[in-house]
Symmetry: C2
Subunit: 141 residues, 2 copies
Amino acid sequence: MKLTSKGRYAVMALVDLARFDNINPVSLRDISLRQGISLDYLEQIFSKLKKNEIVKSIRGTQGGYILNKNPNDIKLTNIFHAVDEKIKTVQCKKESKRGCNGKATKCITHNLWDELEIHINTFFENKSLKDLLNNNKETRV
Amino acid sequence: MKLTSKGRYAVMALVDLARFDNINPVSLRDISLRQGISLDYLEQIFSKLKKNEIVKSIRGTQGGYILNKNPNDIKLTNIFHAVDEKIKTVQCKKESKRGCNGKATKCITHNLWDELEIHINTFFENKSLKDLLNNNKETRV
DNA sequence: CTAAACTTGACCATTTTAGTCAGGTATGTA
DNA sequence: TACATACCTGACTAAAATGGTCAAGTTTAG
Ligand code: FES
Ligand code: FES
């Protein structure tokens, strides 16, 4: 059970972006340098963030990305969803009536994993980009 | 972020075992049939559970496995640890002072992932095999 | 007009996962 | 004592996921 770097980088990059986007759009190049993430990889990630309306892009020289929402309204859930970082604890398809073993009933641990998934998602729903900014300022002082 | 089937099967098999081990040891063959898990794969898993003193084995005809502890004392944490199902949210080495980007300080999201890891582990520490048995009985009624 | 920066899509090496396979060894029962 | 049952061990591997790179654009400020 581990986090993929896609989700990790997405959050990292957005925190960086949120810090600097007050004045000008922020270029991926800058984020790449500051956070040590490959530029090509960042492009993939931001393409998805844009499709999900979390950021806006500005083309041309001096272009870059800016947030499309208030940091307080961008939850980790939104970010993870955007870059396909899925929380998958159950093996079966949730909608299906069949269990993961192919039987007609759900397996004996199905409810447990479902509970776990809710537990984790709760964490993500309660964290916004704003929280991370504050948190980071605190630890800086 | 997903659970591997090693962890999932381990818990599934142990719940099955806990239900039937009152009278006789339970053979992997039976668990395999009831839960639809490959026998060869179960053997790998139980080898680890045994090394970690979660189950005991009885060889020969009519042999099988029995729990080595009270179901109330077997937490999900113990099971996951035994089969190497690790929760890995941070990228960096925790003990190291360096960040995941190779820099001298921890990255701006490190604290967040650490918090997440604690959040998940709390869930596992508070769930015992006993809870799962009860839970399952309840949903059966 | 040109350099900076976004855009798109194909491609790929490595690692992890989820097992299988092939041999054992121990022991209760007939 | 034979033999079937069930544990035990380690090597092997196909398929999927991961974590990127590479190439070839388009857009626009200056
Ligand atoms: S995880 Fe849903 S049926 Fe097993
Ligand atoms: S996750 Fe620990 S430094 Fe980035």
